[in-house]
Each structure stands twice: as C-alpha cells, then as structure tokens.
Symmetry: C2
Subunit: 330 residues, 2 copies
DNA sequence: CTGTTAGCGCTTTCAA
DNA sequence: TTGAAAGCGCTAACAG
C-alpha cells in the first residue's frame, strides 16, 4: 500500500505539504500542488480512511442501524435518512443488528466508527444505547421511548393510530369489532390496542376479550387468527389487524372460507406496506409516516452533531388510508 | 473520551497489559484481567475502532455497495450476503452510491474503510473499481463483466433468461412476439434481447423491428410501450417485457383498453419482483437468483480475503416462473 | 505474566 | 509557502 509518505518523497516535498495539497488547503502553490497530485496518481495513492479519522476525530458519516437490512419495510425510512444526509454532506452506512451482541450494529455503536447513529432495531436494549451515547456520539432512537442524555427518541403515535382505525370502523356503523394483536408485550402493540380500546369506550361499545386474538405480527398469525374468529361463530362485522402483514393473512383466510371482504366483513390494517395497495380487495390501513420519520431523525442528528439544542422526544401522527376493504355496515 | 491509557492507569497496569486483557489474550492472570475490566467499566471505556483498525490493518467488515439503499429490489441479495457474512464472522455494512463521486460508496472504495466490497451499482464506473481493487482489497462486481486483478465478476445469464422467456411463449404456440426493451445501451437489456432473438431464430420466426419497442425499464415506459403496440394494430399475441416493472405498466395499459391478459394476449416479464405474484393476472416471469447471487458473492469475497484462489468470472442461471399471464395460443 | 516502546498513516501546530 | 515533528489510540514485538 502506498502512503502519503511515498507520495511526498516522489514529489520531493514534506509529508505535511503533501497532506495540505491533497486536502485542497489554500496555502499551497499551484506548482507544488501539481507535483503532489502527479506523484499521487503515479503511485495510485489512496488515503487511509482510519488514519485520517483517527487524527481528525470525525468521520463525516452516520450509521443507520436496522434489525434487518433486507426488510422492504424500511425502504421509505431509509430514503428519508438518505436524502437528509446527502443534503448535509454526510455519509450514510446501514448496518444490521442481526446477531445481537456480535452484530455489526453493536460494534459500530461501541467502537465509535461513525459520528452518530439512528437506531431502529428492537433487539438492541435500551441499556446498550444509554451506554453508547455520548456528547460526541448522539443517538436517535426510533420507535421506543428512552430517557437519557444524548439520546433523542422519535415515536409514531401508535395509540392515535389504533384509535383512528377503530373510529373509522365505528363511523361506518360497525359495533362488533375484533382486534388481532401483535405479540402482547410489544410496545407498538400495546399502544395500538390502547387506541382501539379508547375508541370503543368513547362510543360506548363493549370490549369483548373473545375478540382479542393474538396474531404475532406475522402473515401466518393473521391467517390463524382469522380462522379462529370464524370458528367462534358470532363473527364480528369488522376486524382491526394490528399490522398489514396479519391483515394479508386474514384476507386469505376469509377468502378461503367464502367470507367476502368488505361485503361480509370489513378489514383494516396498520402500516400501509407497499402490498396493501395491490391486494384484492385493496387494504384500508393506517399509514405510518416512515419517510418523515427517517428524514426527521437524520435532521435532528445533524443538529445535534452541530452542537445545537433539540427536544429530546418527538411524536409523529398517523394517517388513515381508506381503500376497499372497509365499507358501511348495511 | 476515556482511552485505554486511562483504564490502564486506574487499574494500575501498563497499557499493553490492559490491551491484552481487554482483547481476551491468554497470557493475563485472572486477577489482572478482573482489575482491568473493573476499571474499564467504571470509566465506561469504549475502544476506538479506527485506532485498532489502523494498527491491525483489518476491519473484519465488508461493504455492500448498492445504487439505492432503499430499493426493495435488493432485499434477497442483501439477505444472501448477510447470511454468509454472519457465518464467516465478518461484519457487513451497506452503503449507497447515490451522489456519484461524492457518495459514501466511493469514499469506502477509495479510502479502504473495509476489508473488501461487493458492488451492485451501475453508476460506478469500471475504471474506479479497477483503481480501487488491490491485493488487500478484493472487489466482487455484480451484474457487469470486468477483467482486472483482484476483481471477480458475477453475472446473471441474461441471454439465457431472454431465451427462456421467448422459448416459453413459442412453445405455447405464439408466433408473433413483441419485445419491450430497457434502455438500449444497457448491458442487461442487450443480453436479454439477444436471447429473445436467438429463440426466434431457432424456431424460424421472423424478427420484426416494429415489435421492438423501448420502455426504459420503468413502469411508465412499459405502459407507453403497450399503448404504442396497441395503436399499431396488428397486435402480437404475446409480449416479452424486459423487466417486471415494465410488464406491470403493460398490464395496466391492456386492461384500460379492454384487452384481456392472457386471453387476448400473453405477457411475460423478467426479474420476478415481489409484486409479480400479486398482480391480476399474476405475472409469468424469469426469476433471477438474487439470494444465490448475494451468497455467492460473499462466499467468494471471503475466500479471497483468506488468500484462496477463485475463478474470476461466474455466471448464474435464471429460471422460468409460470403464472397466469401466459397461456396457450388457441 | 507484565512493562516498555515503536509505530500504524495521517493531520496540524509551530517554526522557518 | 513549506518543513519538522508531535501525537491521535491502539497493538504487538521484545525484554524482563
């Protein structure tokens, strides 16, 4: 590997001069600059990133930590982060927290290989984030609330989303509304369920636990939950699936049993994944502002990096997207 | 920031001892190790990744460079890379080549911030890769063929895919088969088109240039191409869209004009994107082995990193996926 | 088993 | 405008 030393030697200047020239500092004469660049080119010199980072104590890059790099779910979020990063002249790398303590994510968090990070990965514990955060290493935590210095959390208002979904069904005249939940201990699920209950209560509708079925946030789980609902007789007139994946499974189960959506039963999901638009019938759902979330996260991170003050908690609203899977109860 | 020096001082040992202890080297006594860890914990010590990389000349991480980090298209590819990386105990970061010469990707390529890289981004030129590649920095180039030391290319057999698609249509009895192409200069498009022509020739079917329409690889382009085909009268009985996105646009155009797929016209795509399964009718297409491509790329990269020999060129086969959008010509 | 020390490749202060 | 030299935080060779 050729180093800056080699370049300096070939150009017949001092290392410092070579460094100044290569980095475009003003104080170097045209002549010298040219010589240095020539030498660099001849040797196919490529700077060693670590060495310069080590010295300058800044990498001009941030990391986006996701629990699954390959999830299409993150697409818009990434887009938001990317756009804002680009505007700010920062570099962005994405890494996965797959593998827990041995994951790339944890390595990046603990070894400060970047200037700051945005974390959207539930398999990383709060403690670890608290430990990793530092004045010179701010962290933006998505979809969790965490109170600590140098950490800002951004959450989607899941409670409001749950409320919105349920209210939509109620306003269509539905009085018997089932809730297919995600893993019961999940933060997201708990809040969506709270919103569901609040809407019921506000409209004086009773909550029936037999209509609260667990679906594990998976397509399969939603399928099974719908099957269970059907086998219970006394089918509700509407079902709120706590995410779209489960709703997809539910749609399939209803179709298999000859129950027509939305004629016989209304279905609403949560997330607005890409597929929601393409199912038959297309899926009414609650849209999470994912792009905005990513953009906001990046924006705040860059403020922090500039030493500016910010709130340490943000909440984003959801939006009801009405498609074909819900209709007025006749 | 607390450094290893601070830890050593607090523990009352030398830096080297602290380093050995922290890195789990054998030669340190239990007692000393304990002292060091205690001190590290008390100071919330976190190692500086660059410094150690600089010294050890290895990062144990590779980069996956994509032209668009947020594209759902890459999902399976990433999965393949990730799985194999995990098995090999390497870290993986993904970065985008968006922004050309100022992109994160180029920074990582030129500044050797990782041990090696897999590139799937057409906006990075061959020259740059050739320049960046080095014995200690192997590069795997996907979907392009490039001949240079320390670079291995992996391609999907686009020609064979084009042939397969066309042959499928021919075998269903179609004699009038249009080709909706991507940008005409694209490597991918050229090869798919070649395959199309080979299949025609092999079955003694004439090639008609009026049935070769450009669609730019976009949904919109496919839509327009289909419209054009329709307005030309003399509609072919089958259309091969050089990718699924265009086929989606085509499907919409046909539906709008009351032309039924596959009754009136057969449609085949290329890629097997996730949506292909969900359109009405679902889309017959050519699947690219994306997971395999990612896994193979990573596998080869790790071989190279271990100093083993490999081929410098690999070609992967495609597969015909028959769904509803093609049928026997009656 | 532990300590001393050189040095990875770079940036930047200071002096010329 | 240029050069000499210090030192970022760490690892590892070597000596004890």
């Amino acid at each position: 590997m050729t180093t800056i030393k080699d370049v300096a030697k070939l150009a017949g200047v001092a290392v410092s001069t070579a460094s100044y020239a290569l980095n475009g500092k003003q104080k170097i004469s045209e002549e010298t600059r040219r010589k240095v660049f020539e030498a660099a080119k001849k040797l196919n010199y490529q700077k060693n990133g670590f060495a310069s980072d080590l010295k300058s104590k800044s990498t001009k890059t941030i990391a986006l930590i996701l629990s699954d790099l390959s999830g299409p779910y993150y697409s818009q979020l990434i887009q938001g982060v990317q756009d804002v990063s680009y505007e700010n002249g920062y570099n962005l790398v994405a890494c996965s927290s797959f593998g827990g303590y041995n994951s790339t994510a944890v390595k990046f968090l603990m070894e400060k290989r970047v200037d700051g990070t945005i974390v959207f990965a539930h398999n990383i514990e709060n403690d670890l984030l608290v430990q990793a955060a530092h004045e010179s290493f701010p962290i933006i935590a998505l979809d969790r609330s965490i109170e600590s210095d140098h950490i800002v959390s951004i959450e989607v208002d899941n409670e409001q989303g749950g409320y919105l979904a349920t209210k939509h069904l109620v306003e269509l005249g539905h009085k018997h509304i089932a809730y297919v939940s995600g893993p019961v201990t999940t933060h997201d699920n708990i809040l969506r369920f709270k919103g569901y209950q609040r809407a019921l209560k506000e409209h004086n509708l009773p909550y029936k636990s037999k209509w609260n079925i667990s679906g594990n946030f998976t397509r399969e789980g939603g399928y099974n939950a719908a099957k269970l609902l059907i086998s219970q007789k006394d089918l509700p007139s509407a079902v709120f699936f706590a995410n779209d994946e489960m709703a997809l499974g539910g749609l399939r189960a209803f179709k298999e049993k000859g129950i027509e959506v939305p004629k016989d039963i209304s279905v609403i999901g949560f997330d607005d994944i890409q597929l929601a638009e393409y199912t038959r019938p297309s899926l009414t759902t609650i849209r999470q502002p994912k792009y905005e979330m990513g953009a906001l996260a990046a924006h705040i991170l860059y403020q922090l990096l500039k030493g500016e003050e910010t709130e340490n908690f943000y909440k984003l609203s959801t939006e009801l997207i009405i498609r074909e899977s819900t209709k007025i109860l006749t």
